[in-house]
């Protein structure tokens, strides 16, 4: 069973074609890092996976279940009700560049809101689970703080714990450290490394090349709405085949 399978995915915003035929698969336990210049469609790809954007055409399978399917003309072949789409995507967790914590909830409240609302989960059990996750990201002592009192790095760790509290099988990260001051990047990457070690399936859009090299099982280079090159970190970073990949890697090194 593959965790994610994307076939011939296209996405346009009006006239602007952002994703032009994307095909890729993610297997269980893989950590796939997506790199590429800004505007190449990396965020859009992640957002299509969990239906924050509606694809224009193509197919998306999550854990072998077809969750989105539109033909070349853009007609929805599934016509699923909102509830069903949500149910099919419940194994995907997402972490955003700008954290998007709920400012009116405490840290603990942020973690507990979705399980209690969506799953109608037991309060005591959810709380225990949330506290355990906060411990895991090193923020057990911040449970009763409001997000605005936390540093960016702490907020992003809360956001990771919040996503994990829904017990996803796959975690999507969209430039999770790009909004952070340099000295706070490390603590977030540490949490992500731990998650990878535990065998979580992860798709990470990132500019942290050393993280990608160390943690990724596979690196995907995107440019202009295409997957231009993919392979192991060694293949992509040390022996890039495509000129655009070489060009990009040269630029990020400087």
């Amino acid at each position: 069973m593959s965790m994610i399978n994307v076939e011939n995915l296209k996405k346009s915003f009006g006239e602007l074609e952002v994703l032009k035929s994307i095909n890729f698969t993610v297997e269980k336990g893989e950590v796939v890092c997506i790199i590429g210049p800004s505007g190449s469609g990396k965020s859009t790809l992640l957002r299509c996976l969990n239906q924050l954007e509606i694809l224009t055409s193509g197919k998306i399978y999550i854990e072998d279940k077809l969750v989105a399917h539109r033909d070349e003309q853009g007609n929805d072949q599934l016509n699923l009700p909102q509830k069903e789409v949500i149910n099919l995507c419940k194994d995907l967790g997402m972490v955003f560049q700008r954290f998007n914590l709920f400012p009116h909830k405490t840290v603990l409240g942020n973690l507990m809101l979705a399980p209690m609302t969506v799953r109608k989960a037991d309060e005591a059990k959810t709380k225990a689970k949330a506290l355990e996750l906060l411990g895991k990201v090193g923020l057990a002592d911040k449970a009763d703080e409001y997000p605005s009192r936390l540093s960016g790095g702490q907020q992003q760790r809360v956001a990771i714990a919040r996503a994990l509290c829904m017990e996803p099988n796959i975690m999507l990260f969209d430039e999770p450290t790009s909004a952070l001051d340099p000295e706070l990047v490390g603590e977030v990457l540490e949490v992500m490394k731990d998650l990878a070690k535990e065998g979580m399936t992860m798709v990470v859009v990132t500019h942290e090349m050393s993280f990608a090299r160390e943690v990724a099982t596979r690196v995907i280079f995107m440019d202009g709405g295409y997957i231009v090159e993919e392979g192991t970190p060694e293949e992509v970073f040390d022996n890039p085949k495509n000129d655009r990949t070489k060009d990009f890697l040269r630029k990020v090194k400087n």
Partner: protein
């Protein structure tokens, strides 16, 4: 001021407060629906709420009160052939004030909801919430806090505007004062003003406190 006049003031104040609170509560509830219609994808619902807000905000409230009291029963009779019984000045006044508040407040609610960062919707959705759940648990609580100052503002505005209803025969604060002042006792005008000031100030202070409490997380 003798005891009889004092009692008349108590009565007038009660009428003003009743008009205010009934209109504001009905108006805010209606405002919520108008705002939701305005933001819906349905073109017809959208247009209805747009026209409604356009008409109400673009015409004087005084005229709306006159239409509610004098014109509505006649229109009703012409359309149905029956006489609209029990059409009271109080009811017409509350109706006009509610519709008026709803139009202004719906725009406040809409811009409040739209001022919430799009990332909040996305985070809620990515966590598996439906649109309705996101609205209820994430967007509305944050919007509500931002709405406290404009709500408070609208409440004091309506409180003062209830005086227009005296023109269709309701003896609220202003009309009570006018009656007593008719014989040249102009102090009653100033007393009336003082009562309004107390009410509007208390309202403002109260909602400032509410806002502080609601805003503790920022």
């Amino acid at each position: 001021m003798n005891q009889q006049q004092f009692m008349a003031y108590v009565e007038g104040t009660m009428i003003t407060l009743q008009l205010t609170f009934i209109s504001v509560i009905l108006g805010f509830i209606l405002a919520f629906f108008v705002a939701v219609m305005r933001m819906s994808k349905n073109k017809i619902l959208k247009s209805i709420s747009w026209v409604y807000v356009w008409v109400i905000r673009g015409t004087p409230m005084f005229l709306q009160i006159l239409i509610a009291y004098f014109a509505v029963p006649i229109i009703y009779r012409n359309m149905t052939g029956q006489v609209l019984s029990n059409w009271s000045a109080f009811g017409a006044g509350v109706g006009a004030l509610s519709l008026n508040t709803a139009a202004y407040t719906s725009e406040v609610i809409r811009s409040g909801i739209e001022s919430i960062d799009k990332g909040q919707w996305e985070a809620a959705q990515a966590l598996g919430m439906t649109k309705a759940q996101a609205m209820l648990k994430v967007i509305a609580p944050q919007t509500l806090k931002r709405l406290i100052p404009p709500f408070s503002n609208e409440l004091t505005t309506i409180m003062k505007d209830t005086s227009l209803i005296s023109t269709i025969g309701i003896t609220e604060l202003v009309k009570t004062s006018k009656g007593f002042a008719a014989s040249g006792a102009i102090r009653f005008y100033f007393f009336c003003g003082a009562v309004y000031l107390v009410m509007t100030t208390l309202t403002t202070v109260f909602f400032d406190k509410v806002e502080k409490i609601a805003g503790k997380y920022e």
